[in-house]
């Protein structure tokens, strides 16, 4: 059931990305180009998504269980640290270079764009590199602590 709803959520999310025009990197770059001929569309996409999403999250935040009766697993991390900011800055640079972020790139793959596929393969490679870095850092930290257990967020 949760697998079916995840599929439907992904499907509806993807259709929203297509309808909003965000599958098209040229449109995203048009928004990020403040100094050029500016296309404010992306701001309205975010506005529309947040207007509807906030109702859902407001209700979800007051519940202890999901509609399926399983526990709510919304994020509880609140730390604002260098890791968050530098990661976000890095992501923004990549976003501004190609005009793709993860969701629209996956939708572009489904629409048959080879360039979307190349971006996604590189993105997954980047995520695997992150996993590798984190694992070796955890191992080093564990060795330094003299304990066997590495911790991870």
């Amino acid at each position: 059931m949760s697998v079916l709803s995840a599929f439907l959520a992904g499907l509806v999310f993807g259709i929203g990305l297509i309808v909003s025009g965000m599958m098209n990197p040229a449109k995203v770059l048009g928004f990020l180009d403040l100094a050029g001929r500016w296309d404010p569309s992306l701001a309205l996409v975010m506005g529309g998504a947040i207007a509807v999403g906030s109702i859902g999250f407001f209700v979800a935040g007051r519940r202890l269980t999901t509609l399926l009766g399983t526990p709510m697993l919304l994020p509880t991390v609140r730390t604002i640290d260098r890791r968050l900011v530098s990661g976000s800055l890095l992501f923004g640079v990549g976003w501004g270079l190609a005009g793709f972020c993860p969701g629209p790139a996956l939708v572009a793959v489904g629409a048959g764009y080879v360039k979307g596929f190349v971006f996604v393969v590189a993105m997954v490679a980047g995520m695997l590199a992150f996993e590798g870095i984190e694992r070796s850092r955890a191992r080093l930290a564990a060795a330094a602590d003299g304990t066997a257990a590495g911790t991870r967020e």
Binding site: V3, A6, A9, G10, L11, V12, F13, G14, I15, L17, I18, S20, A26, L32, L34, G36, D39, M46, G48, A49, I50, V52, S54, G56, F57, T66, L68, L73, L74, I80, R83, L84, V85, S86, G87, S88, L90, F91, G92, V93, G94, W95, G96, L97, A98, F100, P102, G103, V107, A108, A111, K115, G116, V118, F119, M123, V124, G126, M127, F130
Partner: protein, 144 residues
């Protein structure tokens, strides 16, 4: 600031945004999770997780969205100006960056701001600023 009224699509942007918001709300209420694409994909890359099926299902939904959309209307055109070297470096940077900040436009931008998360607000301001700066550099300083 010069708004290009020939490309600005306010109604489809708002409508598409509302659809995205519905998907995020559905996912929060039924699955109890944040619909953050980078986190959902990133979680698939960790070995032996019991939640691989729902993650794969969400990604499958995203990838199949164009096929479903095409049953009702013609898909809008897509212009990808970036060449392959740029796509590869941009993809790798997005992959690493989103995992470090634990979110992207969907997780922090849409869901995080919907939840009034200060952490997501900081992340969104940072990646927006970096995106603006990058496009300014590539289009107006180096004129690539």
């Amino acid at each position: 600031m010069n708004i290009d009224w020939t490309v600005f699509t306010p109604w489809s942007a708002l409508a598409g945004g509302a659809i995205i918001g519905c998907a995020a709300a559905l996912f929060a209420l039924v699955n109890g999770r944040v619909a953050g694409i980078s986190g959902i994909v990133g979680g698939l890359l960790r070995p032996s997780l019991p939640d691989a099926p729902w993650r794969a299902a969400f990604v499958a939904g995203l990838v199949l969205a164009p096929a479903v959309y095409a049953m009702f209307a013609a898909l809008p055109g897509v212009v990808i100006d970036a060449g392959y070297p740029v796509l590869v470096s941009a993809g790798a940077i997005v992959g690493i960056g989103t995992r470090y900040c634990t979110g992207c436009t969907s997780g922090h931008g849409v869901c995080g701001l919907s939840r009034l998360s200060p952490r997501s607000l900081v992340a969104t301001l940072a990646f927006m600023a970096a995106g603006f700066a990058t496009v300014f550099a590539t289009r107006h300083i180096f004129a690539l």
